[in-house]
């Protein structure tokens, strides 16, 4: 394995983006969607997640460490590319560029989001409930920051899912790669809707 370290890290990077990070992303946005059914309903769901057994262990190994690894290697990958969409404006080259662009936007968004929520809760400065998000998203600047952040994150996940299926060699033929493109587009639209819908509820109560 030692002589194939770069190969191993890159495959791991691709895998971690889907499992567990992608799975966590969907779970997170789905649980947020409880907000749409009312404050009570969200607080109940959030409390359930918060009171899961071994929560710190789950958070560390399913969320923090995978994202940290994915982010550090990801930033390196972004800076080793020399984007050329002006010269070669093909569809996939644009997605390649956007994948790197949204990676950076997502990193900024997630850092801010974790600082504002999980870290503040951990420090005892905030409580995990509906009013925390309501307070943050009532500010229109933060609302739009979150909208952009969620869309960027979901795009990065959906297009990364395509990349995972190609990089691991599941989708080989041009036809299968094309169908996976359409499938991941559907994933992007559906998951974005779920995320944005709850943001709207937090911000405007509708």
């Amino acid at each position: 394995m030692a002589e194939h370290r770069e190969f191993f890290y890159r495959r791991l990077h691709s895998l971690l983006g889907v499992v567990p990070i992608g799975v966590f992303l969907i779970q997170h946005l789905v649980v947020n969607h409880f907000a749409v059914y009312g404050e009570e309903s969200f607080n109940k769901a959030a409390a359930f997640m918060h009171d899961l057994p071994f929560r710190i262990v789950l958070e560390t190994f399913i969320i923090f460490l995978p994202i940290l690894f994915h982010a550090i290697l990801g930033v390196y990958i972004v800076f080793t590319a020399k984007n050329n969409v002006k010269r070669y404006g093909f569809f996939r080259n644009w997605l390649f560029y956007l994948q790197r662009f949204t990676g950076i936007v997502t990193l900024i968004f997630i850092s801010w989001h974790v600082w504002e929520t999980r870290v503040q809760i951990g420090l005892g400065n905030a409580d995990l409930d509906y009013s925390l998000m309501e307070g943050i998203l009532a500010n229109p600047i933060m609302f739009w920051f979150y909208i952009i952040g969620v869309i960027s994150t979901v795009f990065h996940f959906s297009n990364g899912l395509w990349g995972f299926l190609v990089s691991w060699g599941f989708a080989q033929s041009p036809r299968s790669q094309k169908i996976v493109t359409y499938a991941t587009l559907v994933v992007f639209l559906v998951v974005s809707y779920i995320g944005i819908r709850s943001l709207i509820t937090f911000a405007y109560g509708v």
């Binding site: 190969f7 080793t80 984007n83 080989q172 790669q177």
Partner: protein, 254 residues
Amino acid sequence: MAEKQTVTFIITRQDSPESAPYEETFHVPYRKNMNVISGLMEIRKNPVNANGEKTTPVQWDMNCLEEVCGACSMVINGTARQSCAALVDELEQPIRLEPMSTFPVVRDLIIDRERMFDALKQVKAWIPIDGTHDLGPGPRMPEKKRQWAYELSKCMTCGVCLEACPNVNDKSDFIGPAAISQARLFNSHPTGEMNKSERLEGLMEDGGIEGCGNAQNCVQVCPKGIPLTTSIAAMNRATSIQSFKNFFGSDNAH
């Protein structure tokens, strides 16, 4: 087209590998059906630039003149391609010629593609059949497989796919699409298959296949229409399986 008397070339020149590049403009008498190389030959015949100053002839690389050797690749009006197959009548003027930026410049439009040949060595893109006695005929190849493998064999190491790839640059050591496709070609050959893990190991070395970011420019620009992204995905799958075999152990990891 008949009224056109001259063709204008703006060429990015460089006197030596270390010196700074500069642009020089040339007006060349128009002839019917001329290609970029015949334009360069006119400059060589009469090396006088647009200001009427005598200059050194522009250097370029060429060999077959029929788009099968890959030597005359350069960036023509922003797109990397073979200059022998670039017809002046089909190009917007002035015609801008630059050396391919992915490779070290030797002089003017001549670049050094040695990294591509090193890449072929890294993936062992050959079939070892030398021995001390006659090994007899090898296993036969299914016709259907031969047909797609033939397409891969059209690669002429021209470097256009590396030039278009955003991940082949001086900040990364990515091997590039061409050699990955060649590993697939030799792994698909019934005799070459006997050493397939050696080629896959080459692809899994640092700077190997993992540098691919799936921008898929390579398949769009390949002058030979080689399904490079299919080859990359095929080798992605093969290296995934090879890495499992290496780690968990397998009697079929030859």
